[in-house]
Symmetry: C2
Subunit: 240 residues, 2 copies
Amino acid sequence: MNSFNSKNYLQQLSIDCVIFGYKEAELKVLIPKILLKKPLYSLPGGFIYLDESIDNAAMRILEERTGINDIYLEQYHVFGKENRINKDLLDNMEEFSKQMNQIELEENGINWLSNRFVSIGYYALVDINKVNPKIGKMDESVEWYNVKSLPQLIMDHGEMVEKALETLRRNLDEKLIGFNLLPETFTMREVQELYEAVYDKPFARNNFQKKILDLNVLERLEKKFTGAANKAPYLYRFLM
Amino acid sequence: MNSFNSKNYLQQLSIDCVIFGYKEAELKVLIPKILLKKPLYSLPGGFIYLDESIDNAAMRILEERTGINDIYLEQYHVFGKENRINKDLLDNMEEFSKQMNQIELEENGINWLSNRFVSIGYYALVDINKVNPKIGKMDESVEWYNVKSLPQLIMDHGEMVEKALETLRRNLDEKLIGFNLLPETFTMREVQELYEAVYDKPFARNNFQKKILDLNVLERLEKKFTGAANKAPYLYRFLM
DNA sequence: AAATCAATGTCTATTTTTTAGACAATAATT
DNA sequence: AATTATTGTCTAAAAAATAGACATTGATTT
């Protein structure tokens, strides 16, 4: 039995996750789609148990909604405008209600969802190849979207992504978190393309390589023979 | 009538403020003292009305508890450990209850206060000379303490101050917020002493002056004749 | 009134870091 | 063997940060 009861949660406080991935030189965000007549795109989010830390709640929610676990996850901002209400859901409450009853949503839970919520934003970085997002209970699908061309998101979720991207940019250098987006081994060019995707601007190859190597966090491995008509690049591994 | 009713607020969500001031070359924090047998030192905090933005709540709470308004105030971290309960208050609940009834605290309000709370931390910078902290309803006094020698604070409020100081240090340069701590006009030495108090380390006078002036946010005014046996320094005013 | 003192304002030299330019090395193709 | 497209690395130039030096100045002392 999987009954949802709002009484188990802290009231009117939620968590939403912005999950960044990287593939084909593009920075992506993972967006579940809620199946309704008019489909809703909403960040993976959820609620906090009465006796659960918010960091734990964020990890659990992410796991429940997408199957992703054991990754870099950080609180970055609280969104708490006075009228922060899920209007898109309210407009489709009847249909959503039917939908949800299949997963044992109680009557008062429905009403509860149309309350005003303060939401804590977390952001996460994952290697898309290492992760196989599953479809959450109330979702039709989960998809990676280029951060530059997201679908219309509900409520202030667009703003939440924007602010998460700002935070990512501020922290990429300082905290060396970027390597979370890459596979186990990678070439220097791939690191550079990642940085260029995040900052949406080009870097000079020679100086970029020097800067990254001077961090002393990469181990140089064997060369990677791509079959291309040029010198083979080294592979690297992140050491932390 | 000033009746406190927990039903008016978002449940189990609070706001606490770390208010930095600067005086006599020391970085200070404003700490109210709650009058009980064993006095409790607690950051000025409070709760969020059901239809009030969190930023507004922070400003209102600060005003109610200390009389301070119209200042730089910024959200910096959420504190949400699973067992975040005001034990110090619980231990003195009987005495506190009596105390509070004088200001019309309802019965269920008392119990409510001993719940687990998630707290949003805000920090603020004020010119101590411009501000005259009043004593809040439930406080015995409010005092400025050197950030390096605070009294024992309740719960995780010590940690909250620490994290606020980290944030202040990260933002001082970038956001030019330091001048909020100084009076209308000030000398370059005063700016330097402020920076030294915040970072707890010395700066080279010649280069510090160059760096600050190169920001192009200061207007140079007349000289300040102190009566000391040396060249009189210029006064400056912050332009933003 | 001249010498002294303590702190200020500013300049220059030095060092370090960042940025730009250049070129040899190399793996596959022609 | 020559060509091609990248890669790895070196050096020069520019910019920024740091350190050292000194003349200025307002009051005090002699």
